[in-house]
Amino acid sequence: MNETIQTVGALGLVAAALGFLVWRWLRRRGGACEDADCRCGKSVLRKPKK
């Protein structure tokens, strides 16, 4: 495998990793909570209604 192919392969992996991190951030920002296995997507701490 020559050096150019290696560089292209490495950069491809870097792009994929960046894409994955951005996708994960966008998904999490939307409210899904993977770690706590919760899909309610709601804010439950509301100020009491007067």
């Binding site: 495998m1 991190l21 706590a36 309610c40 701490l45 209604k49």
Partner: protein, 694 residues
């Protein structure tokens, strides 16, 4: 009839989730303490005829008059007030046989709802051990619904419960189990009529809502439930009348229900007298929650846990470490030189391997936690801690969320839903990330290993250091809770009412299962986020290229080097250089990424361009440009203090934003935690220098 929807309801810690898991085959978290489930969970099982049945596991509550957000979930689902959840067609009400009277209070409220109900009488074995004999047939006849005796922890009664759930002829009880007091009956009738006029409701649901409006209107309106204005006006009128007559209508409603429940219990329960005198749990509690022995026990349990982390894990860690080193050397030896080889050998393998090496220690920790959760010791620990927590003004219910935060702040923050007061809940959310989560463990373990190499100090020093970090985090959480309760979120410290569940023998299988789940989560994170960050970090340390440069010059010239140099002035007073700065920034993604970052950065050092060495050694060899050692004992200790206080976790920030509904509180949290981390490190550094540490 389409797929029936069952709701599983009951008091906290009566075994709902254990039954849910047994029927659905899911692995919903269970524990021998109240408040494990704070959101509804949905699963499926099949009837004996192969028909699909949907099951909703709801958070536990003592009554339909919800006091906290998790209890409100149960009430709203049962009353059909959630847009995201269908109103259940049928309800399985799980009742703790050892505490029938208190559990039947909620059961009678469920029976009032006019849906078919099955009562699962759980913990029958414990009831028998306590000398209680329950006439199941008589109980079923009195309640007017099927009653199934169960022992969910060993799978007893599951088949019978599934058979009962498969029945097509289930019907609501034919007549109410209790009578509304005569003075309240006309008011109830008027409210039912108003509620039915306001929107379509089944008669029984309208009656249940009317009872809630009369009995505990505050909890309904506080959680944003829309109540018929006509019903509220009628309730106002009646309440004004009763107040004028000095009639305690709320007490009368509760008493009437308890009278009916008490009568049932007297008829169906026989006590053999074996329960007289202190039970086994009481005798154990005499020691475990003793003001002196209780603390000694708590310290001993934690010390035993940490000691096993350091001693038992040593060999498997060594094997993994050797495996990672061998793999990196093999990639270097077999692949042609180039970027892809460097990416694998200097980025992916040390980055991911540096984290995986800590797997055995994390598994041992969670095995212990799993055992403790099942025995019921956690509630006793909560009882002991409440003495401290009430002094700083924390709600006793904060203990479980704070305890969960030792594993991860995210479930801990979600568990604050059990806290009734909004201000107390916010205080708990703000301090929860200070508890020592499992993501900090790899960072501490690496730094302790660098700070105190094996050959020079006994293992107890490491245990002491780890204990100190846990204590510092917990102490910090208590201090800030005290501060917030006196400044931003002023309020009275509420009284804690805590149920101490009976002790149960832990199941080794469940503890291993718990450990396996944590292993899966840990490896999934290592194989996804940490892998991706290691790849990106490798690129940041490799580009832009500096022709004919040494590895050290290259990394200093790279994007990572530039970022590190940009923040170096802010962290230099703490004894950290730009390379550590890169680790601090990348670990915002997850704290353990610090370890991977160090592995990636220090693997491309001058003398080791072609050979991977254990990370600890690489850190010990690292130095400042003037030749001074970089990772001195003082720097390692200061770094640990930084990780005790800093909010280095983007997932926590996102979850706090979601739970509090605004960016204000996450920003307050980032601000106070980062400032504290910096100040604490500054103090530690300069005190250390004064005391003669390098």
């Amino acid at each position: 009839m389409s797929e029936p929807v069952y709701a599983f309801v009951g008091n906290p810690n009566c075994g709902k989730s254990t039954l849910f898991n047994a029927l659905t085959g899911l692995r919903q978290k269970v524990g021998n303490y109240p408040g494990v489930t704070v959101e509804k969970k949905v699963g499926e099982c099949f009837s004996q005829h192969g028909r699909r049945m949907q099951i909703i596991d709801l958070p536990g509550a003592y009554s339909l008059a919800a006091r906290s957000p998790d209890e409100a979930v149960m009430r709203d689902v049962l009353l059909g007030r959630r847009t995201d959840t269908p109103r259940p067609d049928r309800v399985v009400c799980i009742v703790d046989a050892t505490n029938l009277e208190r559990n039947l209070y909620l059961a009678t409220q469920i029976l009032d709802l006019g849906v078919p109900v099955i009562v699962a009488l759980n913990m029958m074995d414990l009831a028998e051990a306590n000398g209680l004999r329950i006439d199941v047939a008589a109980l079923s006849a009195r309640l007017g619904v099927p009653v199934i005796p169960c022992r969910a922890n060993v799978g007893g009664g599951i088949t019978e419960l599934r058979l009962a759930m498969s029945r097509a002829d289930l019907a609501p009880p034919a007549q109410p189990l209790w009578s509304v007091p005569g003075e309240i009956a006309p008011a109830l009738e008027e409210l039912v009529a108003e509620i039915s006029r306001h929107g379509p409701r089944a008669a029984a649901v309208a009656r249940a809502e009317a009872l809630l409006v009369l009995g505990d209107r505050k909890s309904l309106t506080a959680s944003g439930v829309a109540v018929s204005p006509g019903a509220l006006a009628a309730a106002d009128r009646w309440e004004a009348k009763w107040k004028a007559e000095d009639f305690d209508w709320r007490g009368a409603l509760v008493a009437a229900r308890y009278d009916a429940v008490g009568e049932i219990v007297r008829d169906v329960v026989q006590s053999s007298g074996a329960a007289e005198g202190p039970s086994v749990s009481d005798r154990i509690d005499a020691v475990v929650v003793h003001p002196v022995w209780g603390w000694a026990m708590l310290v001993a349990v934690m010390a035993a846990m940490f000691l096993s982390i350091f001693t038992l894990a040593e060999y498997p860690m060594g094997w993994i470490d050797s495996g990672v080193t061998w793999l990196a050397a093999m990639v270097h030896g077999t692949m042609a030189p180039g970027d892809l080889r460097d990416l694998f050998a200097d980025g992916v393998i040390p980055g991911v391997g540096g984290i995986i090496v800590f797997l055995p220690q994390i598994l041992i920790l969670f095995f212990f936690i799993g055992l403790l959760e099942q025995t019921g010791y956690m509630s006793r620990a909560a009882f002991m801690m409440d003495r401290l927590m009430s002094r700083v003004g924390l709600d006793g219910k904060s203990f479980i969320p704070l305890l969960s935060s030792y594993a991860c702040a995210i479930p801990g923050i979600m568990a604050t839903r059990t806290i009734e007061s909004r201000k107390d809940r916010l205080v708990t959310i703000l301090v929860a990330p200070l508890m020592t989560c499992s993501a900090r463990l790899p960072v501490y373990l690496l730094l302790i290993a660098t700070l105190v190499p094996n050959e020079r100090v006994p293992v107890l020093t490491k245990v002491g250091l780890m204990f100190a970090m846990f204590a510092l985090g917990t102490g910090g959480a208590f201090f800030f809770a005290w501060l917030f309760k006196r400044t931003l979120l002023r309020g009275e410290a509420p009284m804690m009412i805590l149920e101490l569940p009976p002790y149960r023998l832990p199941s080794l299988f469940s503890a291993v299962l718990h450990m396996g789940e944590r292993a899966f989560m840990f490896l999934r994170k290592a194989g996804t986020v940490i892998l991706a960050i290691s790849i990106v970090l490798w690129a940041l340390t490799t580009f832009p290229r500096l022709p004919n440069a040494t590895p050290a010059e290259q990394i200093a010239h790279s994007y990572a080097g530039q970022i590190g140099h940009a923040i170096e002035p802010a962290i230099e007073p703490l004894g950290f250089d730009w390379q550590i700065g890169v680790g601090l920034i990348t670990s915002f993604a997850a704290r353990e990424v610090f370890v991977s970052s160090m592995a990636v950065i220090f693997n491309v050092d001058d003398n080791r361009a072609d050979a991977t060495v254990p990370l600890r050694q690489a850190l010990l060899d690292a130095h400042w440009p003037d030749g001074r050692a970089l990772f001195t004992p003082l720097v390692c200790f200061t770094l640990m203090v930084f990780y005790v206080f800093a909010l280095q976790c983007v997932s926590t920030i996102v979850i706090v934003r979601r739970e509090t509904g605004s960016w204000k509180w996450p920003l307050v949290q980032i601000g106070y935690m980062t400032a504290t981390a910096w100040l604490a490190c500054f103090v530690v550094r300069h005190l250390g220098l004064l005391l003669g540490f390098a």
